[in-house]
Symmetry: C2
Subunit: 339 residues, 2 copies
Amino acid sequence: MVTVHDVARSAGVSISTVSRALAAPEKVASATRERVRRAAAELGYRPNRAAAVLRAGRSGAYGLVVPDLANPYFAAVAKGAQERAREHGAGLFIVDTDEDPDLEAEAIRALAPQTDGVVLCSPRAADRALGALDGRPVVLVNHDVAGVPAVEADHRGGMQRALEHLRALGHHRVAYVGGPERSWSDRRRRAGLVEASARYDDVEVVELGAFRPRVEGGQAAADLVVASGATAVVTFNDLVAVGLVDRLRARGLDVPHDLSVVGCDDSYVASLVTPPLTTLRVDLRRLGRHAVDRLVASASGGRSTGAETPVPDAPPLDVELVVRSSTAPPVRHSSGGTL
Amino acid sequence: MVTVHDVARSAGVSISTVSRALAAPEKVASATRERVRRAAAELGYRPNRAAAVLRAGRSGAYGLVVPDLANPYFAAVAKGAQERAREHGAGLFIVDTDEDPDLEAEAIRALAPQTDGVVLCSPRAADRALGALDGRPVVLVNHDVAGVPAVEADHRGGMQRALEHLRALGHHRVAYVGGPERSWSDRRRRAGLVEASARYDDVEVVELGAFRPRVEGGQAAADLVVASGATAVVTFNDLVAVGLVDRLRARGLDVPHDLSVVGCDDSYVASLVTPPLTTLRVDLRRLGRHAVDRLVASASGGRSTGAETPVPDAPPLDVELVVRSSTAPPVRHSSGGTL
DNA sequence: TTGAAAGCGCTAACAA
DNA sequence: TTGTTAGCGCTTTCAA
């Protein structure tokens, strides 16, 4: 293994000059710097991270905790986060908790001491999670706790747009098919939709219970939606919408004519399925990138003794309505006709 | 921060006893061990990983390099790998290289020194990748280099099954829509299909060039498939199959009647799209788990005192044909008849 | 069975 | 601008 000593010897300088030349180039004469760099490159020197961490107290790596990597939503966020971490020259530990609050707390406890900070994406048990972190830099994605930096999408605005779209098509009774019970995103989306509907006295929202945020959840919800008498439905995410459409079709119902469906997230499945889903688009990759940026900011800002993290709160990311083929004007069933 | 010294003081022993009691309990009298453990728990002691790594030379973490986390294939592998790493009490660094060979080599160079070993999933530049590892434990997934442990699926068997299925339906001209040029999986699948067809003199395989392993790749391939005169097609993966179906439909062709389509991987999109895809199923999660198991075995094999795990070469994972609705007997267009 | 002591490779305070 | 030096917290001989 090549160490600073080898590089120092080869470049004819001391080990501290090597360290400086590599970590704080401006503190070294340019000629020396070049000599050191060349020697390092020649010998194939790679700094030992463990030693640097031990000595300097920061690890150059961050953590990302997500409920389920197989969910395209979180995969996209993870991709953005990891990309940005790389650009910051840092590593990223990604941990998938399988939607399990116990695993989540456990993951954080394991991650916290060996990283410079953690991004918690859609935490399933935020209080416990934050406890496990004891004071380490953290950024919340899709969650909200007083005093903790967070990054989120503008769900309220999105739902507003979705509802206006449906209303303009002539829908007056809209169902909402919710996600996991503990989910903060679910509460936000639900509240956003209800709030939007409150502005009009000709639109009513029917809220339906907690469903798994996957295809199965949508399948399970479909019959309730039909029974609710709604002519349009907004789902917690695209996967749920896909399951919903699937089950409706199995019952002989047509989307969008018998029921209009709006998904959420515009994950890539939305455009693959039949019919392609009208959905709310969030730039997930960007969400991941932002989260890491904020973490880096608060991890390097909050380093000083005494003063707390200043890091301004970022504005929510825009949520855009993407209209595809799963929404249309309702068909009037005047008296049980087959049309 | 609580250190071994604090625990030692509190338990009335030396720091070496603390270290031993925690890391090698059998080398410490049970009474002492208990005392140390209690003290550690009381003080909330968490070993400093960096220090342990620096001193002991192993990190308790592994690396996983994948080309694209947003691809459900790799997401599934990553999930399995991370699950298994957790069960081994180790961490897992997941790095997404965006299908870029340079980033791949770079990722490995960064990962290698700070992990106990790396899983390379579908490497895009294996030779460079292995070079960057210089001798560290590694396991290849979907790749093959002499002398390097690997985990793979039985693509040959899978292709055999796919071809038999198509032949039984009455197809005699089958196209193969390939994945990335550098892809080992692509070569395997291609060769498996060609090999299978060689057993029958009434089936012919038409090989089509390299396409991106995504929806766009399938869209790009569709017109070539039609022009090839094949009545059935096997694609590099499900995503490509989805793109293919999409483009065929846009041209007014029907799947499966005008063309039968077989996907690969049975990623969850396969059952979501219309028509649901006939595809080759690989248990990806298991693939990820196996890879980590092999890595752990070979990483600790070199170090262990006695003869514990001899790391046998794992047999390829079964590949199963899942028949859904995208395959059917070919329709005879004898002279433009509509049947 | 336990303790003393020697570093692992690096950074950063201090000196020159 | 550069060098000297003292550890960071831990594991692991070696002795007792």
